[in-house]
């Protein structure tokens, strides 16, 4: 129902009434919309209806105007955004963001810290070495998406919300691994100190490059490690930490895979470029010249062996983990539409791959 113009005219005549304009109440400027709640409440997908759900292929304004609101002339620009939707989009961004909002957890109260009991020194040290490494890694995983936020247009705000949820998740991971290192009689140990593979993520100059390196490769490997956390964990607290972190990492990997898929579907000419990013990243990831990961490898071996008595047992599990990481990485690439990666994968990973199915 439109505002009655006669009421407005009468109001203007009232004594002492300030100048009123009220042109923003014009009927034609207000598209009718009633978003309906679904089973999961009022989600972002539910409000993506009518003009509000029309995500432009190219963001053409540099202001903070919300998608679907009425443009105003003369507004100052806020930023240079990545204009092309295909450069940053993933179709599951809304779903993942809503899930992240539902599945937030607290490292202070949701971990059964009382189950952490004294461990043999070498095992406690190994756990703390792993936690030191993971604390470092999570710093990067929070900083990298954070630095891209300023380039995400409000026309593509769903991606910004997803990236924010990742920054929050990684903060909690950083926090929980630091807490674990400081709760049971040891402390932090040796930091790898910026491996080339990790700095490569921060150095990325393209969103898809960053996403492929961080979400698909690095976080994919970390997620597989977290999902096999029962071989590392020594108590219920650690099992819970790995379980919850794996759940979070699944979202990040899921975004990366679907973003890569979107890019390959909408900008297929970028295939070789993306291969090139991965060529370099695979070479740098855990590169022997880094010299920073030996502590982590040994610590994993010790925790998986339950000590130093039967290292072969740990080596067997570590080998299985390495194979799982490589195969799951390949599977994610296949889902993203980059199955031809199998032929050019770095041999350090390629030799761990199972033969292709079919």
């Amino acid at each position: 129902m439109a505002i009655d113009q006669a009421v407005i005219d009468e109001l203007r005549k009232e004594p002492g009434m300030p100048d009123i304009d009220l042109s923003w109440l014009r009927e034609e400027d207000a598209p009718g919309i009633v978003a309906k709640m679904g089973k999961r409440g009022l989600t972002l997908d539910q409000i993506n209806t009518g003009v509000y759900g029309e995500v432009p292929e190219t963001a053409t304004h540099g202001t903070t105007r919300s998608r679907g609101s009425i443009p105003r002339a003369g507004v100052l620009r806020t930023a240079y955004f990545v204009p092309e939707k295909s450069d940053i989009w993933a179709d599951n961004a809304t779903l993942i963001y809503e899930e992240a909002a539902q599945r937030q957890w607290s490292s202070a109260t949701d971990i059964p810290w009382e189950t952490v009991q004294p461990l043999p020194d070498i095992v406690e040290e190994a756990i703390c070495q792993i936690c030191t490494f993971l604390t470092e890694v999570e710093f990067i995983a929070g900083d990298a998406p954070g630095q891209w936020l300023k380039q995400i247009s409000p026309d593509h705000y769903e991606v910004a919300l997803y990236l924010i949820s990742q920054v929050m998740d990684e903060a909690r991971h950083l926090d929980v691994f630091r807490k674990r290192a400081l709760v049971n009689g040891c402390g932090l140990l040796e930091a790898a100190g910026a491996t080339r593979g990790l700095r490569n993520v921060l150095d990325s100059k393209d969103f898809t490059e960053m996403s492929a390196l961080m979400h698909v490769l690095a976080e994919g490997f970390v997620q597989t490690m977290f999902r096999t956390g029962e071989f590392i964990a020594q108590n219920e607290a650690e099992k819970m930490i790995f379980r919850l972190c794996a759940q979070d990492e699944s979202r990040h990997v899921g975004f990366g895979v679907m973003h890569l898929r979107y890019v390959l579907e909408h900008a297929p000419e970028r295939r070789e470029e993306i291969h090139h990013y991965l060529d370099r990243a695979e070479q740098l990831f855990g590169h022997p010249t880094d010299g920073g990961s030996s502590g982590l490898q040994e610590a994993l071996l010790i925790t998986m062996s339950g000590g130093t008595g039967d290292l072969d047992k740990g080596a067997e599990i570590a080998m299985a983990l390495n194979k799982k990481q490589a195969n799951e990485y390949m599977h994610r690439l296949e889902v993203a539409g980059l199955g031809d990666r199998r032929e050019r994968m770095n041999p350090a990973f390629g030799m761990l791959l199972d033969p292709p199915k079919n």
Binding site: I3, V34, L42, A101, Q102, L182, N184, A191, L202
Partner: protein, 403 residues
């Protein structure tokens, strides 16, 4: 018919080709590893690639052979970091403040390290810079960071399910359009904060991880507010209104140092925004709006608490920056008043909302003036808490008219 066969490289007696043997020798790979790999079905081509890629014999042995003898170096167990730390779980669980014990609690005034070393850990010489720019504790610190971080996590909420959206019944056209217009401006403010904070989280060095953790929660809050306000605007028939002029967002965008951004966002703008959230909660038209604005105000109060405490910390440790901080405040005040002057839709929407409908817009303007007076008084008292006294004497003149 002759079958097409692959040409195989010349091999020695034990199945290792001459090419492969030469490469293994040049890369210092024991030939036994090569033999074991070939026996295990690894392709010769893969072995060439592995050696070319820089894989070490140790890594290869670990991956390829079963009867290895593993030797641990354990150098990482001998590093000089503080041991014996047993942080205690308190009433609020294992909090970030609870693990600040021993040397791990020592937050230096200047963080000396450009690497990704966590505070209290050891880094081997040769670690590279990660490109952070903020190494001064006073620039970013506040003593309530740990508390605010944990509180933000404990008090998390999800707009999709924690707001009783079903309580929103159809409203008169003028009321619905007014709230939609107000929310349009608030969405833009929150998006500007998102754009800004993403950059600043990255700039803070790792020694001040509490700051990074806290800023992550602010980012999450700002995203949630953007999301929740957009949902409310689209939930009841009318949608978003006219874009805001954007003047007040300029000082946020233009902040050249962290303290400037923190002053503009957390101390100045958030003070005005918190007052507005609280007023919207008081004037809510249904249970959904009560919950929405109450929860948003709860979040915003944390941001402001940091803004006040951070400024107090900064001025205590760098009192010479007082005038500089005032300049940032004045700039933000100037742009706020420019925004108000240019934003007729928001001003009128607030008057309709405060008055209770279009027909009461005259009364609404009067109430809006009262609100702005209170908003300004509250702002000045918050500045006083932050250690900035007498600011009423140097307020931006246009804003001082609200006194």
């Amino acid at each position: 018919m002759a079958q097409k066969t692959e040409k195989k490289p010349a091999a020695t007696g034990n199945g290792v080709s001459d090419d492969l043997r030469r490469k293994a020798e040049s890369k210092n790979w024991p030939i036994a590893i090569i033999e074991k790999a070939l026996e295990g079905g690894v392709k010769e081509e893969s072995l060439h690639q592995a050696m070319d890629a820089g894989m070490t014999p140790m890594q290869a042995r670990q991956m390829l052979t079963e009867d290895r003898k593993i030797e641990l170096g354990l150098a990482w167990t001998k590093v000089d970091t503080e041991r014996g730390i047993r942080a205690e779980v308190g009433k609020k669980g294992l909090t970030i403040d609870a693990i600040n014990v021993g040397s791990y609690a020592d937050v230096p005034d200047i963080w000396p390290d450009q690497t990704m070393r966590p505070r209290g850990a050891y880094t081997k010489p040769g670690a590279v810079s990660m490109g952070y720019t903020i190494y001064s504790k006073a620039e970013v610190w506040s003593d309530n960071l740990g508390e605010l971080y944990e509180e933000a996590i404990q008090r998390r909420w999800a707009p999709a399910t924690d707001i009783p959206w079903e309580s929103i019944a159809p409203l008169p056209e003028d009321r619905e359009r007014a709230i939609g217009q107000i929310l349009t401006a608030l969405c833009e403010y929150n998006y500007a904060v998102i754009l800004s904070l993403g950059k600043w989280v990255r700039e803070v060095s790792y020694g001040f991880h509490e700051v990074k953790l806290y800023l992550s929660t602010v980012l999450f809050d700002a995203g949630r507010h953007y999301e929740a306000f957009r949902k409310r605007a689209l939930a009841n028939g009318r949608g978003l209104g006219v874009q805001a002029p954007g003047h007040r967002l300029m000082p946020i965008r233009e902040a050249m140092c962290y303290a400037e951004m923190a002053t503009v966002v957390f101390l100045m703008n958030d003070s005005f925004v918190l007052s507005l959230y609280q007023a919207l909660a008081a004037l809510a038209q249904n249970d959904a709006e009560v919950e929405l604005f109450t929860l948003a105000a709860q979040d915003k109060a944390r941001h402001l608490a940091y803004g006040v405490d951070h400024t107090r910390f900064l001025l205590k440790h760098q009192p010479e920056r007082r005038d500089e901080i005032r300049r940032y405040l004045n700039k933000a005040e100037e742009y706020l008043t420019a925004d108000r002057a240019a934003d007729t839709p928001l001003r009128e929407a607030l008057a309709i909302h405060f008055g209770g409908g279009l027909k009461q817009i005259g009364d609404g303007f009067s109430k809006l003036n009262d609100f702005r007076h209170r908003q300004l008084q509250t702002y000045l008292s918050r500045l006083e808490s932050a250690g900035i006294e007498g600011h009423e004497n140097v307020l931006w003149p246009e804003l001082a008219k609200d006194l």
